[in-house]
Amino acid sequence: MRALLFARVRFPGPAIAKGKDVKLIIAAIKPFKLDEVREALTAIGVRGMMVTEIKGFGSQSGHTEIYRGAEYAVNFVPKVRLEIVVADALAEQVVATISTTAKTDKIGDGKIFVLDVEHAVRVRTGETDDDAL
């Protein structure tokens, strides 16, 4: 019963079909690369993104801080997370641009994930999916 209700709300008819055309790209990059990446993405036609300052760990281990002899291991490294929603056609190019721009060839350069977006709406106009980007 509950599952049924949930399903009805979550999958409105038309959205399923159109949603396949929109991708969400999540990238964690080095903070100092943010401006460069933004410029490169704007140049290939990306018209918006969300940016969050985050901490995390991957293959890059943290560092130790010492305060008057007291050592603290800092295991989480500061990164910037980008969330970019683009039309399917642009997605591959976005991934390529981020990976070339954010690259320093040192560990800790980051990761990129690509996800399908079910539905997108522009708040001001109510336009959906591709039109909402």
Partner: protein
């Protein structure tokens, strides 16, 4: 030099004042009560406007050391959740001690009594003090308005218990911090100030030199912080949680304010705007500079990086060490003292403290206690004329005798403050309890004790 000899003559001043303006009329009264030496030549009491201006400035500078200087220095060193608790403890302790000082503190320290241990009750509620009362300086016949002397000494009394809170920061109950401070200033600060600075005082009469308060303020506070830090126990999560300072910027700003304020503390302790004051000024610059360089150099050599906290710690260590010595040491001696004290404090807070495994949160003992002890003893060496100092004070006139006098003063202060602190902790434990509850400590004292937050971003 005639160290604070003449505080005792304060008692006689009301008599002198009745004589009013005609200076010659006072001569007899003043001379009669001047302590033994140099009294014969006593001239009419002169209040110099230059001295008054400088001492009013110094008094305010010492207040500036406490709030905001010390408060910010300590505040930056604690975690975000405890910032306000430290600011509040510094502010309230200073306020409470100011009131206590005029009610009975001044009398207990400088009330004119002849006991070697306290000044008696003659000046409780500032009894007998008027705007015309005067207090002696180091020069015969030169006086300060007594209100000014009271205010200057009041700021010293106010900062000393505020220094102690660094030892038990981040876990003490607010009420316990205040109650401990009241008991401790009453039974440790006032008596030790009397012993060291009053002409009737025990340590004073051993001819130990403590120009601006190395024993009275720094050793006294350092020992109290050590005692309470051990008795109250470690912070929850000590050694496991990240307890890194929340704002090194605040700490640097606070330390720099301490340095500026310290010119009131050290140079003001000359009580007059004379050439002797300029020596104290030079030394307050140079010992501190030497200590900052030393701490940073040691850090570079031992771990490759010089830290801001290291430079700030060296700054305070140098200031503490030069405090007793600033009026009697030559400028070159001051640089050496800064270097040595800084190295000793570095070794203590980075190595010795961790070996003994107690939690003196902000290293009050490691910096003020250790730096104070080194400064107090080195004062006996560096006052040697052959090292550029102004000469020994002890009758024997030898370095050995002066150092012995210094060590005796240090030992008495350590024992006195230690015993008073232990007793005070037991009393506080019984009356208010010492620590906040564990969950309150985890939440942070800002919210649990004060109901507010330092930063609302």
């Amino acid at each position: 030099m005639n160290y604070r000899t003449t505080f005792a003559s304060l008692a006689a001043l009301p008599a002198a004042l009745m004589a009013g303006l005609p200076a010659w009329a006072q001569e007899a009264a003043t001379t009669a009560t001047e302590t033994a030496t140099d009294a014969a030549a006593a001239a009419a009491p002169i209040i110099d406007k230059g001295d008054v201006a400088w001492m009013m400035t110094s008094t305010v500078l010492v207040l500036f050391m406490t709030v905001p200087g010390l408060a910010l220095f300590y505040g930056g060193l604690v975690r975000t959740k405890n910032m306000l608790s430290v600011l509040m403890q510094c502010t309230l302790i200073a306020a409470v001690v100011m009131v206590i000082w005029v009610v009975y503190g001044y009398s207990f320290a400088f009330g004119g009594g002849t006991s070697p241990f306290w000044g008696g009750t003659a000046k409780i509620f500032l009894s007998g003090v008027t705007v015309d009362s005067t207090a002696a300086t180091f020069s015969d016949g030169i006086f300060l308005p007594e209100y000014l002397f009271i205010a200057f000494q009041m700021t010293f009394a106010a900062i000393t218990p505020a220094l102690i809170i660094g030892g038990f920061a981040e876990r003490i109950k607010f009420s316990a911090a205040i109650l401990f401070s009241v008991i401790w200033v009453t039974f440790s600060y006032f008596p030790v100030a009397h012993m060291v600075w009053d002409a009737a005082g025990l340590i004073y009469n051993w001819s130990a030199i403590d120009f601006a308060g190395g024993t009275v303020v720094h050793i006294n506070a350092g020992i109290a912080a050590l005692v309470v830090a051990i008795m109250i126990g470690k912070r929850v999560g000590y050694g496991k949680d990240n307890m890194a300072p929340h704002s090194m910027t605040m700490t640097m700003v606070g330390a720099a304010m301490l340095w500026v304020g310290w010119f009131g503390f050290n140079v003001g302790s000359n009580l007059e705007a004379t050439a002797g004051a300029t020596l104290a000024m030079m030394n307050t610059f140079l010992a501190t500079a030497g200590a900052i360089i030393a701490w940073s150099l040691i850090e570079v050599m031992t771990r490759g990086k010089a830290s801001m906290l290291g430079a700030a710690s060296g700054m305070v260590a140098g200031l503490v060490a030069i405090t007793p010595a600033c009026g009697t040491t030559g400028p070159m001696g001051a640089i050496v003292l800064g270097f040595v004290a800084s190295a000793a404090c570095y070794f203590f807070v980075t190595t010795v403290k961790h070996k003994f495994n107690y939690d003196d949160s902000l290293d009050v003992f490691g910096v003020h206690g250790v730096g104070g002890i080194i400064g107090a003893i080195a004062t006996g060496i560096l006052c040697a004329p052959s090292l550029g100092g102004t000469g020994f004070l002890v009758e024997a006139g030898t370095m050995g005798a002066q150092v012995a006098a210094q060590i005796k003063g240090v030992v008495v202060t350590i024992l006195w403050s230690g015993v008073v602190s232990v007793v005070a902790v037991f009393i506080v434990k019984a009356v208010t309890g010492l620590r906040v509850k564990e969950d309150e400590e985890r939440e942070g004292l800002d919210l649990s004790s004060h109901g507010e937050r330092a930063y609302n971003y």
